[in-house]
């Protein structure tokens, strides 16, 4: 499902961030959404990031995906410095190598589940074969919903379609921003299982943002974001049940 189907070299740097900041003005106050963050993610990592609401998790994920630019600092994705890429190159990088899953309903309401999955082909390296799109939907357990519109799907089913869509262009990096935020526990577990499978069986590099420390345990590496700053949480990685927000 990933471009290299797990055969890419292990430990190759996928994300390399050096001292990035994202500050913006809100009234008279300067908000430090991301503050002096450095991070290196290697190929095949499954990194989970937890933190309170407003701690800067989504902003960090958006910076990594090139959806916004840092106020200061340096970001390299697949050894490409984002600040040096123009819109076309950055868009191509997103289209071909990065998949996004959002917390909110992000499907195009006028397209069927199948066409939503085929949609990234419009911006990637070519049309997504309907059969491949159907296989992806089948993999996320929606083989019977190919021709349903988003309004005919439950929240969990929509998230599955969004996950299938994120994989349509065979990305090397998956950025998931609270993909299970609005789902029940059972569906949440199913989605996380799919992500774990992707990482374990396909070697896909995954960055998962979640507010749920239980879900963070699915990752191989856990980071905590607090007031725009990022710290490593070894306790979670060691599977010790300690409170995240201490």
């Amino acid at each position: 499902m990933s471009r290299n189907n797990g055969s890419k070299p292990k430990n190759a740097p996928v994300i390399n961030i050096e001292k990035i900041n994202k500050h913006y003005q809100q009234g008279n106050e300067i908000v430090r959404a991301v503050d002096d963050v450095s991070l290196q993610v290697l190929s095949g990592d499954f990194v989970s990031i937890t933190g309170r609401s407003g701690s800067g998790k989504t902003t960090l994920l958006s910076l990594i995906g090139g959806l916004t630019m840092p106020t200061a600092g340096h970001i390299e994705i697949f050894n490409q410095p984002l600040e040096s890429l123009d819109d076309a190159a950055l868009s191509t990088l997103r289209a071909r190598r990065i998949g996004f899953v959002f917390q909110f309903a992000s499907l195009i309401p006028t397209l069927t589940a199948l066409d939503n999955v085929r949609l990234p082909g419009l911006f990637g390296s070519g049309q997504v074969n309907p059969k491949d799109a159907a296989n992806l939907l089948s993999w996320v357990g929606l083989s019977d919903k190919l021709h349903n519109f988003p309004s005919e799907l439950s929240g969990g089913q929509q998230t599955r379609v969004a996950l299938a869509r994120a994989l349509a262009n065979h990305p090397d990096l998956l950025l998931a921003d609270e993909p299970t935020g609005n789902l029940d526990v059972e569906t949440e577990h199913e989605i996380l299982t799919l992500l774990s499978d992707l990482n374990r069986e396909r070697g896909m590099t995954i960055l998962l943002v979640t507010h749920n420390p239980e879900l963070a345990r699915h990752g191989t590496r856990h980071l905590v974001m607090h007031n725009g700053m990022l710290t490593e949480n070894q306790d979670i990685i060691a599977n010790k049940k300690v409170p995240i927000y201490d």
């Binding site: 902003t59 819109d87 076309a88 868009s91 289209a95 195009i108 006028t110 911006f123 262009n169």
Partner: protein, 401 residues
């Protein structure tokens, strides 16, 4: 299975808000249709005048003083009008320098119960031996045969065809030719050789229910052909200077008369159409700003999927193009149907000469107006398209929260 393209997305979005799509489409349809109708009518009038003037063939028309307006009305719309002046004027005019040829005409109105037609029609007595207005037509269509005194030529809108016999004021005439359509008064005119006309006038007291009282030495108009090296206006001035009881107008003044007649109507029509167009532009611009604003998150997600700025720009512009293009097509089709159905009524109500422009021109006008409607969409959606394409994907996604 069909490929997914920006066009597919634009089309799907059009279906998302059908009411909005219909309102925008109608705005454009009304504006495009009105402009199409106004342009076709204007071009129809110009076409008719061109054809009519060519058929008329005269450079100058001399009528009794005080009768210029009804005379022009008669030539333009075929509205029957009767006025007379002595025929010795012809000799004076013919003798003037710059005058190449002259031919006289006598105007008579048919009775409303004439066997040929419903309502009153225009009977014009002409001199086959000097006529240069319909003679070229006669030479072509009568194979050089001389026109008999009771052989008549009829305009296209007269319900008579070749070889039919018709009686006016008790005198029988044979139809030997039908003139091609001009959209002008010629279409509603019956041309009778002067000899037959004089006989009909003389016999009317015995044969008709109404006696014609036109004296043998009376004529209604003199058509003048100016010599190739002479100035038309100079000759016109010379004629007026030599005659006390006649007035001269040029063929170009016929156009002027129509222009004056139409100026008010067409001015208001074009003014209203332009106002409608501006309203459409503002409405579409407003609706598209709202639409794009509502869909910021969706556009941000497309950017996250790898859509370039120009793809977002093209998507928004494409949607506008679809809205306005389809609206334009509907407007053109509706206006064409209405024009085809009501052209005669328009002509009668406005008292204008009207001849449908040729199909090449109609297609050209339609194409230009379709382009104009697409440009309207492009212009109206330019700002929302630019602003949404320039927006940072993260900001676009957050804006929808």
């Amino acid at each position: 299975m069909k490929e997914i393209t920006l066009y597919t997305l634009a089309l799907q979005n059009l279906r998302r808000k059908p009411y909005r799509a219909v309102v925008i489409g109608l705005c454009v349809a009304v504006a495009t249709g009105s402009l199409f109708a106004a342009t076709i009518v204007l071009r129809g009038v110009q076409h008719s005048l061109t054809v009519g003037r060519a058929r008329l063939g005269a450079d100058l028309i001399v009528v009794p003083i005080g009768h210029e307006v009804p005379a022009q009305e008669a030539f333009i719309t075929g509205q029957p009008s009767t006025f007379y002046m002595p025929d010795d004027i012809k000799e004076i005019i013919t003798a003037l320098p710059g005058v190449q040829q002259t031919s006289t005409q006598v105007f008579i109105e048919t009775l409303s119960n004439a066997s040929c037609c419903i309502g009153e029609f225009f009977l014009v007595g002409f001199e086959p031996e000097t006529d240069f207005t319909i003679s070229p037509w006669l030479a072509t269509h009568l194979d050089g045969e001389a026109l008999g005194p009771f052989d008549i030529i009829v305009g296209d809108r007269i319900l008579l065809r070749e070889d039919e016999t018709v009686i006016f004021y008790g005198t029988a005439f044979n139809v030997v030719g039908v003139l091609e359509k001009t959209g002008m008064g010629i279409d509603r005119t019956i041309y009778v050789p002067m000899e037959g006309m004089r006989t009909m006038i003389a016999d009317s007291s015995e044969l008709a229910e109404k006696t014609l009282t036109v004296a043998p030495e009376e004529i209604s108009s003199i058509l003048v052909s100016v010599a190739p090296n002479a100035d038309i206006l100079d000759v016109a001035e010379r004629i007026e200077a030599n005659l006390d009881n006649a007035k001269v107008f040029t063929a170009a003044q016929l156009n002027q008369a129509v222009g004056n007649q139409l100026q008010g109507v067409l001015g208001v029509t074009f003014g209203v159409t332009i106002a409608m167009w501006l309203m459409s532009l503002l409405t579409i611009g407003l609706v598209f700003s709202l639409t794009v604003n509502e869909r910021q998150r969706e556009l941000g997600i497309l950017r996250a999927m790898g859509a370039q700025r120009q793809a977002i720009f093209r998507l928004v512009m494409g949607e506008a193009g679809l809205f306005t293009g389809l609206g334009g097509l509907v407007g053109l089709a509706s206006a064409a149907i209405l024009l085809a159905g009501f052209s005669r009524l328009i002509q009668l109500r406005l008292h204008i000469p009207y001849l449908l422009p040729n199909w090449f021109e109609i297609v050209g006008i339609s194409f230009l107006l379709l382009v104009l409607s697409l440009l309207t969409g492009a212009l109206a959606s330019l700002h929302p398209a630019l602003s949404s394409s320039k927006m940072e994907p993260y900001a676009a996604i957050r804006q929808g929260e």
